[in-house]
Amino acid sequence: MELLKAIVGGMNYWIFIILMMIGLYAMITKNNLVKKLIGMSIFQTSILLFFISLAVKEGATIPILHHDQAHAKQGDHGEGGKHSDPSHKGKEAASAIEEGKEKPSVSHAGSSKIDPDRFTNPLPHVLMLTAIVVGVSTLGVALSITQKLYTEFGTIEENEILDQLKSGDD
């Protein structure tokens, strides 16, 4: 029972672990370089999914504030930066996001009327947007290296490339 609970309770984690292992397996064992890269993509995607699943809350919606909601909050931040400009619009949105954190343990902002439980946490999404870009670029670079390998060796099978390196001089 315990085991079942653990598996069902952390379903998302298990899935991402399985995905990750599939990716890792492909990266290590596949002979074809492109298949390796597919594995790498799966591996990275599993991490994206993991982060996204962190943001989810039951019954919560997307964190977009109405104008009046946003206006209600005009608190000052405890640690004003050198170049901080408290009246800046974006900053308020930022503090609203902060409220949406799962554990607003250390209070960085003043009181607020917004109920964080009603919104999913947008920060992981934002982060993953960046991570997706990073992932895509990695894939792009890796693919172009593969292409270079193909023009130089005429194959994208790892063992054949290694054989060529072993036999021929550089």
Binding site: K36, M40, K91, I145, D170
Partner: protein, 506 residues
């Protein structure tokens, strides 16, 4: 302007990179001066930053004026300031070296090469300066992606190595990202200092999640720094890359990752957690011992000059990881000082390898035959770097070894002490082998007879643009050694906050 110094350190190379792409399309000759200009700005700003830090203590800079924990904060203390200055200086030196070498080794891709060079530097500097754990990941990938490309510009073996590096590097970075995710679950923050506060305030150090985060981050960073046995990507990458690339990446990448490890262990997780609660010091130091021994002994077996140096990097990483995990002030001072010193000594020997390759077109150690007579200045440069790696006073390497051994003795890790000494000897063998080749290459007939007149004719030193960087680096190695006090005092000032003298760290 001066207030913005920390940002300029990073932005100067970044903006120059953009500029180089645009300008380079039309005027390829303009690339090099631009690179030089951008990196000089970066160095100047780094100097300014470190002066400010020394004078006024920790410097906090909010990117774009956004206060933490929302915005990205640069919190610059003695540690980053030093490492940032080191990174930008090395970037500048290796850029000077690349002036003639890039057209020669990658003549069709000059502007691309310089763009990538600047982006790598941006990534590395960003990792050093940023106070945001996720931001660090992004910059890690920026520097990694560009370095894959830079390495792949070498021979076809380099392309294979770059692919391997890309796969392994991605795994490492992903581990790091995953670890940051776990930390985020627990603390809800990405700002390093904020994470630390939450971890301490809420006593989260007992949580398994934090433990998993720590393991993931540490392993991820170890992969990226080529800590034995996770070093498989390194030797070939640096051996077959263009010499300009290995001069830039060889010294920097691994050391910046060591910096990240130190930052994570001390600032994000607490030293009390990493050293006392986990109590892995012994195991990790023994791993470092193995890394040092394997690295130095493998280096002995190499015939390719740069491959030999690459294995030395593996050994040097062992020095630093071991020094950090000794968990005492001397060990940490040694590790951080070694980080800085090692950047310059590695640069010194890689520059030498580059010059040898430039002059002879050969990669083997035997290519150094007779160089003492032909290129005395180059050999003098190598001698300084080599003596520093061996650990002969008054070069920088001696003092780092001094502190590291002191740390090892203070915590009773005799294995580590012995490993350091054996590795010194291995390096002595390595470099004196080169000296022998260089000294005995041209054999004067039967040792007697006046060859003085003949010597002059064979004299052919490398061109200034590749010789000057070597000379500069060699003098820096000496200066860092002779004036090690000022660097060490910055490091000890940084370490004071962790109260490592506390008996619980024993």
């Amino acid at each position: 302007m001066i207030d913005q110094a920390p940002a300029i350190v990073l932005l100067a190379p970044f903006l120059t990179a953009v500029l180089v792409v645009l300008v380079g399309m039309k005027y390829e000759r303009a690339c090099f001066p631009l690179v030089l200009l951008g990196l000089s700005f970066s160095v100047a700003a780094a100097v300014q930053t470190i002066l400010q830090v020394v004078e006024a203590g920790t410097l906090r800079y909010y990117m774009g004026g956004w206060p933490p924990p929302f915005g990205i904060e640069f919190r610059i203390d003695g540690l980053n300031a030093l490492v940032a200055l080191t990174v930008s200086t090395v970037a500048l030196i290796s850029a000077v070296y690349s002036k003639n070498r890039v057209p020669e080794e990658n003549g069709d891709k000059i502007s691309i090469y310089y763009t990538l060079l600047l982006l790598v530097v941006t990534g590395l500097l960003g990792m050093v300066l940023t106070g945001d754990a996720f931001n660090l990941y992004v910059l890690l990938e920026v520097s990694a992606l560009t370095s894959y490309a830079l390495i792949a510009m070498g021979t076809r073996r380099a392309t294979v190595a770059a692919f391997k590096y890309a796969i392994i590097g991605t795994i490492g970075a992903s581990f790091y990202l995953l670890g940051v995710g776990y930390l985020y679950i627990k603390t809800g923050s990405l700002n390093m200092f904020d994470i630390h506060e939450v971890l301490v305030a809420e006593d989260l150090h007992r949580s398994t999640t934090v433990l998993v985060a720590f393991i993931l981050i540490t392993v991820g960073v170890w992969i990226k720094m080529a800590f034995f046995p996770l070093h498989a990507w390194l030797p070939n990458s640096y051996t077959f890359a263009p010499t300009t690339t290995s001069c830039l990446l060889g010294p920097l990448v691994t050391k910046v990752m060591v910096y990240v490890m130190i930052r994570m262990m001390l600032t994000v997780f607490d030293p009390v957690y990493t050293f006392v609660q986990l109590n892995w010091g012994d195991i990790v130091v023994w791993m470092a011992v193995i890394a040092i021994l394997v690295g130095s002994l493998s280096a002995l077996a190499q015939t390719d000059l740069r491959r030999m140096l690459a294995f030395l990097i593996v050994a040097e990483v062992g020095y630093m990881v071991g020094g950090v995990w000794l968990a005492n002030t001397a060990g940490l001072v040694g590790a951080i000082y070694h980080l800085i010193a090692d950047v310059f000594m590695t640069l010194c020997v890689f520059l030498f390898a580059g010059i040898v390759f430039a002059k002879t077109g050969k990669r083997e150690i035997t290519a150094t035959h007779g160089l003492f007579a032909k290129m005395p200045l180059t050999m003098a440069g190598l001698a300084v770097g080599a003596l520093s790696l061996i650990g002969i006073p008054p070069t920088a390497g001696f003092f780092s070894k001094w502190y590291l051994i002191q740390g090892g003795m203070a915590s009773g890790h005799w294995g580590y002490v012995v490993a350091l000494l054996i590795s010194s000897l291995a390096m002595a063998v390595l470099f004196f082998r080169i000296f022998e080749y260089a000294l005995f290459g041209v054999k004067p007939a039967e040792g007697h007879g006046d060859h003085h007149a003949g010597d002059q004719g064979k004299f052919s030193e490398a061109s200034a643009s590749i010789l000057l960087p070597l000379m500069g680096t060699a003098s820096l190695v000496l200066l860092i050694g002779i004036f090690n006090q000022s660097i060490v005092s910055i490091i000890t000032d940084f370490l004071v906050q962790f109260n490592l003298a506390d008996p619980m760290f024993r």
